[in-house]
């Protein structure tokens, strides 16, 4: 484990999370560009928890755990909200020009694996996001 972070589900905290995610991605060997992509993906996933899992209840908690894995990085993002069905989490059709519905699209475009799980120890959801560094060929 690289580190674990817990913070209240309040939008201004994301400004504190991003630089740490960026430094973590760089520590795991990602380029600056890829690290900025990873920052976007994690930021969007946190924003979705604030908006859709907790409905802006700022007293709720988010726990982000970051792992260095063979050739990449893995994030586990945990909330303590009611169960989310992964089918309800869907990007919109990008051909419709409309605000909203981009977050999950960004996450899936950037990360190699996206996995929703129930927290094994009781309430809450775990979103596991994995990215592997491009191996220069």
């Amino acid at each position: 484990m690289l580190l674990q972070l817990s913070f209240p589900a309040i939008p201004d905290r994301l400004r504190l999370v991003r630089p740490m995610v960026r430094a973590s991605a760089q520590l795991c060997g990602f380029t600056v560009e890829d690290s900025l992509d990873v920052v976007l993906a994690i930021d969007e996933a946190c924003a979705n928890i604030i908006e859709h899992a907790y409905h802006w209840r700022g007293d709720a908690e988010i726990v982000l755990t970051i792992f260095k894995i063979e050739g990449g990085i893995q994030f586990q993002l945990r909330d303590f909200a009611p169960p989310v069905s992964s089918r309800s989490v869907q990007p919109r059709n990008l051909d419709d020009i409309m605000p909203g519905g981009l977050g999950t699209h960004f996450i899936r475009s950037i990360m190699d694996d996206t996995r929703f799980m129930r927290a094994p120890d009781g309430e809450g959801n775990i979103l596991e996001l994995t990215k592997r560094a491009m191996v220069p060929s």
Partner: protein, 113 residues
């Protein structure tokens, strides 16, 4: 994050700075609406924006739609780095009129792309 609005060559130039994220995008959305409501063309200068997320992009899309709705023009300036990347991921880089600098956006013969 700071925002500055100035009137130049008959258009409203909105200069955004810093990080346009879930925390700051509601203020940006409101500002852009207010500007479009003044029935003037709006130019959004993004050169000092270091970071934008989907909520920031959504504010820009809403500004564009409001401008389309009331027949004014809405364009972006100096989209580079992380902001350009996010626009491309959202496939919106072709949807917005994007100029390299404010002068180009203000030029009377600015081509309608």
């Amino acid at each position: 994050m700071n925002e500055f609005v100035s009137e130049e060559a008959g258009k409203l130039v909105v200069r955004l700075e810093g990080e346009v994220d879930l925390d700051r995008s509601p203020a940006v959305r409101k500002l852009l609406f207010d500007c479009v409501t003044r029935q003037m063309d709006v130019v959004v200068d993004l050169s000092e924006v270091q970071y934008i997320d989907s909520s920031g992009i959504a504010s820009l899309v809403e500004g564009l739609q409001a401008a389309n709705g009331n027949g004014t023009k809405f364009s972006l300036v100096a989209v580079s780095g992380q902001v350009r990347r996010v626009m491309e991921l959202a496939r919106l880089d072709k949807v917005f009129k994007i100029f390299d600098d404010v002068d180009a956006a203000l030029a009377p013969m600015a081509p309608v792309v």
